[in-house]
Symmetry: C3
């Protein structure tokens, strides 16, 4: 149980600065973001890094892959309260609290088994604030500080003593019209944001967005995972859904593929630029058609071994690559995470509640069949992500450094952090260069953290480039140009629309020469 | 063979400073520890690091896991000579000398095959000093310099020319009463030190210590490895020993478990807080009871396959976790080392003579059964160690960052070093935070090196925290508080006594808010 | 297709400085190497690093392992043109261009299938210059800038606008007599350079070199790979070649071994100091002789499984170690690369065209049989290389830190880079020290890049040592001595001639105490 917290402070104007707290001042940490935060130490490097960062900080944000729901923008309603905005849906936050014994139910994480969970957002917020010290040194702290100070314009840090005050301040801020999702798209300078949608999505929210003139700014991403892992619970039902929405008979394997192809077309029409694939491994080995048909048939009958299911998933990954060559959707692979490590948590709370743990990743052998078939196809674009840093220099950089279809995605998940981003550049650049990376991809469901994440990426890239400048390995002029490419031009190119062809994607001879 | 060394220098007062060496001065390196040693370079960071370090350097030492023998304190006799104190028993030192061709026998390492080894400590010391340059850049050098300068108060560095002088100086120092083990406990500011004892230990030395009033200061750790690896030579004999000391019939598997349980109780009564488990892998998969019984029966009959033995070891690891939930002993796992890589060295010198080489470690899948069963049990505490750095960010930090029972131990063995400690914080903190680590664990058998190791850990943590401060990711006030937690409060909590319950261990809502 | 390039600039004297370009000046980057390049940032460290580097920069170059052809020195002809000197043969350069869609054929890479490739060196050079920005942050850029500025004495950076000018300037320079290979040996201060030669080489070029007085300066290395992988295409033909050149009947396994032994003798007579082995894994497990004979017999008949071929390769690696104990040739192992990942590129262009991708490496178990048999043999010397950085601290440093026969080679291939070299020292030194490493090994086929590579290694080592000095972990005097050992004395020792015996190799008691 958390320590007893003080009650509300009624005499305090919640939107006033914390200096108004008088006697409490000594325990209330002032929150001020330093302009040099996350830039490297050392006068020489920092001065250069500061100049490079200044040149990119104002560039528009391209959010080419993430998990904010389309409905958020289609509905454009205000956010309900601090807890349900910043704590409950953020698995980084709830897992850290869990790690020190705060039960997920006490944090309001909804259960799938019908048991009760905390419903009072203020209680949830207090529990979060009581454990604020746990986040020291973590990116969650970095995002949350940025959200509170920069986005919500409040200069008080969370903590046991500020929980209620901060709750009230945030709640008041969220009621302002400028804090509706669409308004924030402008505030955040977001040029484009991509949602992630199941293959069976009706894309209705995106249709509403298109009708409201947001069709080019909020686009879908095709995610077929729920259909490709044939031994996951409820698969048959989802295949029936696929048949319904596509109007294609999924009774056999060929129909299943045709239905997937048809959904991809619908996504392309709705503005999609990419697909997304979460698999346990990167295996992408095609099966003989007869074998694929047999496994599909058996899966429909409900009896397929784990081995067959894994082989079929790898086969479908290969087929998806083939489809990408046809329809131009950029393929994103996020492998190497063992989902739902704790069975009881999974049963009680459902998937992805913080107990997803990485395993060793392997790309060299796993991707070989796919890259042999499509790796030099000018219409194929593959963006690779990992949470296993040992593959950066060993496998990913060498692969991206030779196959023209491959770009390396930004540091993913646990690695989306200051030091994680720095290590990525250090381990990848010398073999793959800068121009075989995708530029920054935020991959978050925490909408309010998006500016913080892009801003941090620009700071870390500025710091890395500044080191190259100070070590006389790159001119400052080139560093400034490269920084802008990483922040803006490369994601634009890497996810160029399906119709843009090879040139739009920066292939063969197309110069990436900065924004100027 | 080492180069010829000069004889004794009779006219020289060994306790005098080396400046008295006159003409030899140019070849005798003065040994002076710089107050800023191991703090990061750069004026800005170093200034902050210095302040943080100042705030922790005087804190008492908690040595929650190590390998100094209880007899050392029970007997409280003076150390015999420099070689048998600093060279012969230190496998880091003997392995480095071995690596450049100095035979272990020439270093006085005792043989188990009865062959002769060097017995003259001065000769051993000379061989060590002749190769002092080999230790450049290694932690052994760091410890040894600290031991000589800070503990022994001698300002001469080892080297071919100082061997005899230094030998005499150290020998003279060791004869002083202040250099007896119990006196050094005070000198070193050691509040508590834990030994490591086989499950079959009589704990007589600990009884003698308790009688002398040292029972709470020197405590045992329960190490059952010699009993859990059923195909290791001499296993049956050790099981008979277990039966004798426990008074429980070990004739079958259930008796064996009961005997282990009984020994754990005896350890708890003697003050133990933890168990320790060295396994080739972290596998902790329970067997069906009938299968466990069968393997045990076959092992008693002397015929068990390597596979069955490994499965049984993994099963017992799981059972030990279950017992920890009952008796509250903290469970420590040290996996991933292939012991006794060189068969001939093993045959001649016995185990652990420097030829132990790490292999790839895997935790995500290996620990899943154990964590599913006990990972959220408030009475279970698991501390994980590794010598495979690739698992820090990939597996260990995500596991410790969500399972409330898990803490990450300090960098172990080869990684117990300045850069090793720094990388640990860099790779772990962003996902697991600071408060899911155990704080510093020295894990050494070199008693005189203990202050050096704790001091270095405080310096490296100060340096890491100072970087966060200078990069404006943490306030200096928080950094100072965190540094004290890492140095003192976290090990205290992580290894809280069995009776302390969840609160003493810092679980659910218990604040860790610094020492102040 | 590359962007349109401007034509020649006829009025421009190609050997004049680029400041003569007048109006073009703003787009033509001046190329000036900064004296502090690649030294660490920070005034304190850099000042120390500069002094350490100054002490080693003038030492002679020992190129103990590389891939420059003996014929280059035997023929001593001038280099034909910039493209065929700096682009076409450098797989680092062609792979990066390939990764952004420039076909290998457009870069003049010769095809083995008879199809046409670009033959105009100026066109190739233009394509390379048009993509110069791709090399930002890569070691290729570092080498190329050094080659252009320091070796060719031209102060213009490559780029779309300078392609033709630079081509003409380089072409003019290459025509000068001082740019013949033998002259460059002097210019580069190369004391010794080792080529790599198939076991079936006639060594004719080396004989010509010996006749010309270059026998001790350009020496061969014995590479038997083409004979040890029995299921590689054309193996039988190469075995017949072996029989011819050795005069030993290779009809059975024993004859095959005898023929290999005979070739090793021929290499030793020609001055060879080492062998080189590129295997997919480091497995070195001996087979029962009958089994080895059986596989060899089946291989001669053309029908051997992949498993049997792999087992035979591991067996031969073990046998080669045994032969090294006899003839004293230093054994080098370069494992862990999956060659020719793209089948179509392999079929069209042959082996090693940039599509070689690393896989996980494993040394602890793989080398155990070899190290058990020969690891403490005073006549055996094994130098290990890797492209999997995760084994540095986990396996390689512990192995080299105890087995007297083992030295760790310099960072290899993709890791032969500024940050790669730095990480090597950081990850290896604390366990293995400096004196269990081989010193710098350039391993390049780009002759003109050799001074740049050695110079960079000296800079990075100076930077690493300077950090130890500034962190008060090493005295500057020791750092200077160690730097010279790393640059010169250690490679000299690690590859001491077969006849030099243990002493020459720095074993047992032989001091490495700097050059002074």
């Amino acid at each position: 149980m958390p320590p007893p917290l003080e009650g509300d402070r009624p005499g305090c104007n919640p939107l006033q600065s914390c200096s108004a707290l008088g006697a409490k001042e000594s325990r209330v940490a002032q929150l001020r973001l330093h302009p040099d935060r996350a830039l490297p130490a050392g006068d020489d490097i920092r001065a250069v890094a500061r100049r490079i960062y200044q040149s990119t900080k104002g560039l528009p944000l391209l959010c080419m892959h993430g998990h904010v729901e389309a409905a958020v923008f289609a509905d454009d309603e205000g956010f309900s309260d601090p807890a349900h905005l910043l704590v409950v849906p953020d698995h980084y936050v709830t897992r850290m609290l869990m790690s020190q014994g705060v039960p997920l139910a006490d944090l309001g994480v909804p259960r799938v088994d019908g048991e009760a969970v905390e419903t009072d957002p203020r209680q949830i917020w207090r529990r979060f604030c009581a454990h604020w010290h746990l986040f020291r040194g973590t990116p969650s702290r970095y995002w949350l500080e940025h959200e509170i100070a920069e986005v919500l314009k409040i200069d008080i840090a969370p903590g046991p003593d500020t929980a209620d005050l901060l709750y009230d301040l945030i709640q008041a801020r969220l009621a302002e019209p400028g804090f509706r999702p669409r308004a924030l798209l402008d505030t955040f300078n977001i040029e484009l944001i991509s949602t992630t949608d199941p293959a069976t999505s009706t894309l209705d929210d995106h249709a509403r967005l298109a009708a409201a003139g947001f069709g080019a700014r909020v686009i879908p991403t095709f995610r077929p995972d729920a259909l490709t892992h044939v031994n996951a619970g409820g698969w048959a039902g989802r295949v029936r859904q696929l048949q319904e929405i596509s109007g294609v008979d999924t009774g056999d394997y060929d129909g299943f593929l045709a239905a997937l192809r048809s959904r991809r077309e619908a996504f392309v029409l709705a503005g999609a630029r990419a697909t997304d694939h979460g698999h346990l491994t990167a295996a992408a080995e095609p099966l003989p058609p007869a074998e694929a048909r047999r496994i599909y048939r058996e899966a429909c009958q409900g009896g397929v071994s784990a081995e067959a299911a894994a082989a079929f998933a790898g086969h479908l990954l290969f087929e998806m690559a083939r489809m990408s060559c046809d329809d131009g959707l950029v393929m994103q692979i996020h492998p190497g995470v063992l989902r739902d490590h704790d069975d009881a948590i999974h049963a009680a709370f459902g998937s992805d509640r913080g107990f997803d743990i990485p395993v060793t990743a392997e790309f060299t052998r796993a991707l070989r069949p796919m890259l042999n078939a499509f790796g030099r196809d000018p219409n194929f674009r593959l963006v690779l992500f990992t949470v296993d840093e040992s593959v950066y220099s060993r496998e990913l950089a060498p692969i991206a450094g030779v196959y023209p279809s491959v770009r390396l995605g930004a540091p993913w998940w646990f690695l989306d952090s200051p030091d994680g981003m720095r290590r990525f550049r250090e381990l990848v650049t010398e073999t793959a260069g800068f121009y075989n990376t995708s530029g920054f991809v935020d991959d978050t469901r925490a909408f309010l953290s998006i500016p913080a994440r892009h801003d941090l990426a620009r700071r870390i890239d500025a710091g890395y480039l500044a080191r190259l400048v100070v070590e006389h390995r790159l001119s400052e002029e080139e560093a400034v140009e490269t920084a802008a490419d990483l922040a803006y031009r490369l994601p634009q190119q890497a996810y160029a629309p399906a119709g843009a062809g090879a040139a739009g994607r920066g292939d063969a001879g197309t110069e990436v020469s900065g924004l100027g």
